[in-house]
Symmetry: C2
Subunit: 121 residues, 2 copies
DNA sequence: CAGTCATTCCACCTAATGGTTGACTGATAT
DNA sequence: ATATCAGTCAACCATTAGGTGGAATGACTG
């Protein structure tokens, strides 16, 4: 049995966003900072980088869209908090890929078993 | 004790590449196809997508640069094979982030314990 | 030898990314 | 009231990314 068109066509745009957000070194550094020091203000985070506040603000927005970070606006200060939950999706995708791989190997084994059974005829 | 500049400044460009390569739905679909059907030719892979062979060829090159796929050139045919190993790096990064997080919580606990000890004085 | 097949390379287009600066909003401090 | 601080928004610029089509390479088919 050959499944020529069996790709699960679920785009999963959320997963794409998380992966893309995580693919930038600056953004990963921001996540690390938050893990290290806990929640922090935008300006405080920006101090660690050799780039404008604006650039960091943008990066934070990307992380926010991906759900990796949440914003708690306390009057004029925006407190940024780490949220690792979406990273779980990466794990899930990874696991799925592995299971698909395993399934194929199983199928191959089945074919092999059938063939040896036929040999017995 | 406050570590203001403690971000581990290892860019890890390899991790960035893997994450970015994985962040595209078409490329993830290619990986899924390879997991499902085993190694395959470029053209065979391209058949599953509604885009030019050239585009798919490019995507494969990106995956190749990230090490997620290897190419075995058999004369005129290029056989593309899945290599899940680099995905492990994502796991590692994830684990590191979690441990950094855990470390901070531990530190907080220590401070708390010291304070309650002082209360006893 | 002419034609096709598998694939890449090249030139091109468009949209998105990562960065900049400068102006803006709203809260706080003097 | 004015200056300052936190942060975003908007416009801009250079680079990269994802896609296209067409030509080039190199082996196989008739």
């Amino acid at each position: 049995m050959l499944f020529t068109h069996m790709v699960e066509r679920k785009d999963d745009p959320q997963l794409s966003e998380v992966l893309k957000a995580a693919s930038d070194p600056t953004r990963r550094a921001i996540l690390t900072l938050l893990a290290q020091n806990g929640a922090g203000r935008v300006t405080a985070l920006a101090k660690h980088f050799d780039m404008s506040l604006n650039a960091v603000s943008k990066h934070i927005k990307v992380l926010e869209r991906a759900g990796l970070v949440t914003r708690r606006t306390e009057w004029r200060e925006h407190i940024i908090e780490l949220n690792m939950a979406p990273l779980r999706q990466i794990d899930l995708w990874f696991a799925e890929l592995r299971s698909i791989w395993a399934l194929r190997l199983e199928a191959l084994e089945d074919i092999f078993n059938e063939e040896t059974a036929n040999d017995d005829d």
